[in-house]
Subunit: 146 residues, 2 copies
C-alpha cells in the first residue's frame, strides 16, 4: 500500500479506536457520550455560541446540530437563551448541571487520552504530532471556509 494511503488509514483507525476508548469510559463512569462532551466543551469555550457555530466546529449538518442540542437540553446540560441582537438564533449556554458534568468528566477524558499519547510517545514526537495535526487542521479549515 502506498505510504500516503497507509498514513490516512492509520489516522482513521487511531481516531476511531481512541474515540471508542474515551467514549466507553465517559459513558460508563459519567453517563455522557463523547459526542456530547465535545459539544458541551465547544459551548463552554465560546460565549454566545449558536447552533451554526457547532455546525462549523464539529462538521455536522444544521439539522443534526439542532437535534443534538435538543438532547443536551433534555438532559438538562444546556439551554437556549434569546439572542437580543438577532431573533433568528439563540445563544447556547451550559446549565449548572452541564458545568458539573463537564468538570466531573474532564479528568477521565484527559487521563484516557494521555494514556495513548503522552505516555506512549517521547516528548519530541508528541510535540511534532501536535504541530503537524494543527497545521493540517488549519489548512483544511481554511479551504472549507472558502
Amino acid at each position: 500500500m502506498a505510504r500516503t494511503a497507509r498514513l490516512f488509514v492509520d489516522l482513521v483507525r487511531v481516531e476511531t479506536r481512541l474515540w471508542n476508548a474515551v467514549d466507553a469510559r465517559l459513558q460508563a463512569e459519567h453517563g455522557l457520550r463523547l459526542g456530547q462532551y465535545d459539544l458541551l466543551t465547544v459551548i463552554a469555550g465560546r460565549p454566545g455560541c449558536r447552533v451554526l457555530d457547532l455546525v462549523h466546529e464539529v462538521a455536522i449538518t444544521v439539522g443534526a446540530a439542532s437535534k443534538a442540542v435538543d438532547r443536551l437540553e433534555a438532559a438538562g446540560w444546556c439551554r437556549r437563551v434569546a439572542n437580543p441582537a438577532d431573533g433568528r438564533s439563540s445563544f447556547l449556554e451550559l446549565t449548572p448541571a452541564g458545568e458539573r458534568i463537564l468538570s466531573g468528566a474532564r479528568p477521565v477524558y484527559e487521563e484516557e487520552i494521555e494514556r495513548w499519547t503522552s505516555r506512549l510517545l517521547p516528548p519530541g514526537a508528541l510535540e511534532e504530532l501536535a504541530t503537524s495535526l494543527r497545521t493540517i487542521r488549519a489548512a483544511l479549515e481554511a479551504e472549507q471556509r472558502s
Copy 2:
C-alpha cells in the same frame, strides 16, 4: 485547554474534515462512499477475508458489517463465496467490477490525501507523523485484542 485535550480534538477534527474531503470527491467522481472504499480495500488486501475480519479491522458491529457487505454485493462490487473449511462463514472477494471501481478511485483517493499531508508537511514531519500514528494504533489494537 490542556495540551492533551487539544491534541485529541485536533486529531478528531482532522480526521473528520479529511474524511469528508475524500468522501466528497470519491462520491462525486466515482459514485462510491469512502466507507465502502475502505471495506473494499480491506477485502482486496486480505485473501480469505470474512465478515468478522471487517468487524475487527474497521471497528464496527457484526450486524453493521453484515449489512454493509449486503450493500457492497447489491452494488455488484463484492461477493460471498463458500468457505470450504468452515461452513459457518463465507469468504469475501471483489468482483471484477469491484476491482475496477477500486482501481479507478485509487488515484483520486491518494491525490486528495496527499494534498493535505505530503504537500503540506516537510518530509521529516510527515515521516514522524506516520511513525507516531502507527505506534498509537499498534498500542490501541494490542489493548483491544486482549
